[in-house]
């Protein structure tokens, strides 16, 4: 499966979803001009994994696929798609491909921690919360 790589801009996050190299990361600020257009390839990529879970799950029997969220900020429109992404990760996990979610937040940014906890509750999935030094 081809990796999905999107470069970071002032308004959009870097996205690396690469199943062969076991790297799954969303990093940066998210307030795309066209939120649907931006996130659609990400949702489609995950849907493809979901539909072909049997093909990939052997790669993640010992260690889970770790989806890392390092978001400095996301707007309300992005929240809808981040939720969709998290729901898809949960579906992939429940379908047999072991997944985990690392939610990074900057030291002192308790709002980002709280949002992570709310999203975890909404998708019914335990996140690992990782505090990083403030920039």
């Amino acid at each position: 499966m081809k990796p999905l790589i999107i470069e970071e801009t002032n308004a959009t996050p870097q996205i690396i979803f690469d199943i062969n190299n076991k790297k799954f990361e969303i990093k940066g600020c998210s307030r795309p001009e066209n939120v649907r257009q931006f996130f659609l390839p990400v949702v489609e990529w995950l849907e493809e994994v979901y539909l072909n879970v049997d093909q990939y799950k052997e790669q993640f029997t010992e260690k889970p696929a770790v989806f890392t969220f390092k978001l400095s900020y996301f707007n309300s429109a992005s929240a809808k798609f981040i939720l969709d992404i998290l729901l898809l990760i949960n579906r992939i996990h429940r379908n047999g491909l072991l997944c985990s979610i690392d939610w990074h937040y900057e030291e002192g940014d308790e709002d980002m921690l709280d949002v992570g906890k709310e999203l975890a509750e909404m998708v019914d999935f335990d996140f690992r919360y990782i505090q990083v030094a403030s920039r």
């Binding site: 308004a11 307030r31 939120v35 649907r36 900020y73 309300s76 429109a77 308790e110 709002d111």
Partner: protein
């Protein structure tokens, strides 16, 4: 269109009045972030200021009527006694003012018990045609230290000036 509870003109730290596009908002946010980082405030408050600025500017871009000089929307930030005031004003259809006022009143009266409603919206509602999640004002209320203060004035038969203020 400029009005504020703050009397001291010197407390204004950021002001923009003009057309709003995605690129313009991006540039404004870069400048805005640089300015607020000069103030001795906690990380979480810097994030709340930034988040509020994004939602307000994007809302004005998305929902404001097309305007021309001198009635462009404005966005300004004031700072006094360790408190920031974000104020914005834009033209909107008078027919939509009551709906917006009702939404803000609902947020002010029911915050913070709206968490479950918002979660339900996120899980069950589709994005609007314009790409909004309908959560912008909720985020603004969540970021602010008190109610969202608003005021509207008739501009002509069809248009009103809508001003909001929040304290962070």
């Amino acid at each position: 269109m400029r009005k504020s509870k703050f009397k001291n003109k010197d407390s204004e730290i950021f002001f923009y009045q003009g057309p709003l596009s995605f690129d313009r908002i991006t540039a404004l946010l870069v400048d805005f972030e640089k300015i607020i980082k000069c103030y001795p405030v906690e990380k979480v408050r810097i994030k709340r200021l930034f988040s509020t600025a994004v939602e307000i500017l994007e809302n004005m871009q998305m929902h404001g009527v097309k305007y021309t000089e001198p009635l462009y929307p404005y966005f300004r930030v004031l700072y006094n006694n360790n408190l920031f005031c974000i104020e914005s004003g834009n033209l909107m259809a008078t027919s939509e003012v009551k709906f917006l006022q009702h939404n803000i009143d609902f947020l002010n009266q029911n915050f913070p018990s709206l968490t479950d409603v918002i979660k339900g919206n996120l899980l069950n509602r589709e994005l609007s045609q314009k790409g909004g999640a309908g959560l912008g004002l909720y985020i603004v209320r969540r970021n602010s230290q008190g109610d969202i203060i608003y005021k509207s004035e008739m501009f002509d038969q069809n248009l009103s000036i809508f001003i909001i203020q929040v304290y962070i």
